[in-house]
């Protein structure tokens, strides 16, 4: 896991990120990527193929960082949020590198039903993470906030309260973004 001296750095960077520092975000991603990669990799191995519980990854990453610290995280939500971003990158990297055999293999095309089931229970089998990523990217060009909410939810399991804290908006704004993002994707998949 993280070196002890990195704890300090992570906390400082989170602070900076929560104040809107974009460079801090990149640094955090870099710093957290290897650890989350390991946790996610474990999940992927132990659950066979693409079934994966993103929430488990987040909470484990958090627990591990938390274990080494005596002070309580000031920025728990921010940590979860950045973790969601890292998980997304880890997963996409993973499935990109294995996509040749996933395509036409176990991975079924993303359908509304699959998406809905997936939202309900992210340990579902047969999730095409690359499709999710693709949709997220499209949504991002239209509505970055809605895309971010979806990203946090899908990859980090953040609650609306947590998202509100991270994005410095009200919970009802989060809910509006969430409803829009979900409907937008369902509409997209229907087409």
């Amino acid at each position: 896991m993280l070196e002890n001296n990195n704890d300090r750095i992570v906390e400082d960077l989170l602070e900076a990120w929560s104040c809107g520092d974009k460079i801090a975000e990149n640094k955090l991603m870099e710093l957290l990527y290897p650890d989350i990669h390991k946790i996610a990799h474990f999940q992927l191995k132990s659950n066979h193929a693409s079934s994966l519980q993103t929430t488990e990854i987040v909470s484990e990453a958090f627990l591990k960082l938390d274990q080494q610290k005596s002070v309580k995280w000031k920025n728990q939500s921010h940590f979860l949020a950045i973790t969601a971003k890292v998980i997304r990158r880890v997963l996409i990297d993973h499935f990109r590198s294995t996509s040749s055999d996933k395509r036409g293999g176990n991975e079924a095309d993303m359908t509304i039903e699959r998406f809905e089931n997936f939202i309900e229970d992210s340990s579902q089998f047969g999730i095409d993470w690359l499709s999710i990523n693709h949709l997220l990217k499209q949504l991002h060009t239209i509505d970055p906030d809605a895309a971010t909410v979806l990203e946090y939810k899908v990859f980090g399991g953040l609650t609306h309260i947590e998202m509100a804290e991270v994005m410095s908006v009200s919970e009802s704004t989060i809910l509006r973004n969430w409803n829009f993002a979900r409907s937008w994707i369902i509409r997209k998949l229907e087409k």
């Binding site: 390991k38 132990s46 409803n179």
Partner: protein
Amino acid sequence: MTQTTTELTPQEWAEVKSHFNDLIQFPVDEIKQQFNIRPKIKSHHKPIILELIDAHLLGIDRTITPEQTPADTLLQQNQFKAGDKIGKYTINKIIGSGGMGQVYLAQRHEDVVQKVAIKVLSFHGFNDQSKNRFDTERRILASLEHPNIARLIDAGSVNEQTYCVMEYIEGLPIHTYCKNEKLGVVERLELFLGLCNAVSYAHNNLIVHRDLKPSNILITESGEVKLLDFGIAKPLAVLPGTDEVYKTLVGTNSLTPQYAAPEQINGDKITVACDIYQLGLLLFELLTDQTATNLSGKTWGEIELTICEELPAIPSRVVKNANPKNTSFNPKEQHKKLLGDLDAIITHALKKSPKDRYDSVRSFANDIQKHLNLQPIEIKNNQQLYRLKKQARKHWLPISALSLVGLILLTSSFMIWQQSLATEKERDRALTEKQVAEQVTDFMVETFSAADPQNRLGTKITAADILKQGVYQISNQSMETVVKNRLIKTLGEVYVNLADFKSAENLLNQYQFNSNDVDLDNQVNFQKTKIHQSLGNLEIANDLIQNLKKDSKNNELELKLNILEVTNLEAIGNEEAAKKLSQNLLNTTRSQYGENSYEYFTVLLNHANAINEQGNVNKQLELISEAKSILITYFPEKEIELAEVYNQLSKLYRKKSNYELAKNYTVKGLNIASKVYGQNHLQVAISEHLLGNINSESGAYNQALKHFERSLEIKKLFFGEETWQLATLYYNKALIHSNQLKDYSAGLALFEKALSLLKKHQGKRYNNYQYMRIEYTLTMIELNQIDKAIPILHELIDYFGKKNTIARISESTAKSYLAHAFIINKNYIDAAVLIKSSISHLEAGLKPDHHTLLLAKNNFKLIEKKGFL
């Protein structure tokens, strides 16, 4: 997925989004109406907004998002909110969402005091797996009623929604509680025993929890343990009508590596042993304030390796090195408390292979209880040895010639500890013993790893080399006398077992006798006695036996001494005394140790050997068959002893001329010996020897010669070229050449070789020497060396005549051969006297087709014909 062009600009999308969000605030059946009356919506946005609304309605119709939708969303989506009623219960608030549904805090309508937790999910939109999982959980919980398991109070369904009402537990995770309360070891163990109770109860109901981790184990305000979340519990056997449940559960796996058992990682069968392992991890954590394995900074491969291969740290060592700031105890004191029993108990529960762990939570808990009661813990001796052997194979030594000696060494040093636990009641003493045993073991392991062939490329290392290296290190390393003594005794024993008596003697002479450990002193003296006996110093051996018997206060040693005395008496030639002692020993051992004891097995075998003479075969068979059934029933792991039993059986069946059974048993014995000891062990030589004898008697002479030759090769490696131990083999080869193949000159040379090896010896060996000379003279006669043969035959008749045995076979054989010599010399008168006095004994004692009898009968007829009778 293809890249689609964006229909609208982001700004336009923002407008769409705003309309969409406003509209979906209305009740479902008003949305369309509101849409139609909204004036501001641009016409080309309209179809998109409609589609989004449809998607939204589709979404809320299908989705309840149990895991990831936070409380406010749930409530918005017509889930339960404060004040809502489910059956007899009123919702207070949502307290979590996990596994398959949301959990609410609630209370009975009329009852403000009793709080409950309600777990709800709607099957609507769920797949079969989710449904089954939830069903199983309910069934399992319903079947469990235990004070330490969160209780299922009620279950039911309302409008497609199924719910479970459970006891609401307010409490802290067990490890946090222990830390916060700064509980001592005893209090922690008592909490843990409560948990064991709950888990054991679940096991009795065929349920494995398999996700036992601190967060699932709460301690209530009143200090009670409560086990939660059988969410991924799996029935041990398929419950009636739930085949599918079982199948779906096997594939459902969402474990956290920190608390995973090896079989959960490598996909082996999950049994109660999985919970025992997890309990072991938990106990480790409770007593050390640290997790048992450190997975931080590890890749998947390393995690896998750590969980499945790496031996866990020893708890007492972990606390010793702990930073006092991070622990709720004093590291030094805690170290002392964990050292010994608790180390052993936790390590035992954390064995990698499920079948090596405690066989039940009950026995795990029993050992902890025994520890608390200051009684010796009960990790069974045999099981331990068996496991130690396996561990040694798996983790320390490459399987090769090394492992034999390795196993002897490791097991015997472990025995020291075991014995001390069994015999010594004082716990302090036992702990010191264990430390010594550990040091001895460490030393052995170091010696062996230094001798690992992979570390010394190209040189083939024999077991003997390793022993030598061990001996060398003893004399060069500065170590405490007590450890050194143990090592000397252990290595000495190995040398005795390997029949290298000189090396054993040299080593044991370095032993420093000290009055503090009389038992060890006696054991060393016992080994020395064995050496003297084996080297033929029978009088010295006898004196030592008598002295040791006087000193001995140890039953086990006394038994060994008595057995040694029986063999010593036989060796001296005092067979009657040997038989008498052996019979006594049989009776006393049976009453002292019981009929199913290993001790009784030993004396049975010994007694069968002691009464070894003509006419006792059936009695011997009885004794050995009894010994065999004791061994197979009660001590199946004692393969070496079983091999010995097979060999004895083979000998006896051979006496009964049942050659097929005899061969079978010999081969069984041989197989065990070469498996356990390797191809060139003495035991293999003995089996080869036996096979030679059997083949010889059943007429397969060339086969017999091959087996004898193989046995000779091995024995030469052991004893050297010119040693008395080879005599019998040369003699047996000689018999085949002379008596069967009629190749007398080859036979003569072999007889002379055998006799030259025996000539110097006295006692039993002198007896053998005389015995072998009988057949030797016949070969001499056949080769016309009659004048040389006659004086020897006179000596033999004199020697065997004095023995005054009942059967008089040897004496009569010698007489009949002398008669044969006289007949060739045409001395018919003397020949007639000899024949007349011998033939009846030969007819009574030999098989009808025995060559001696046939020869005597022929000569009898010849003399009769000549008219001398």
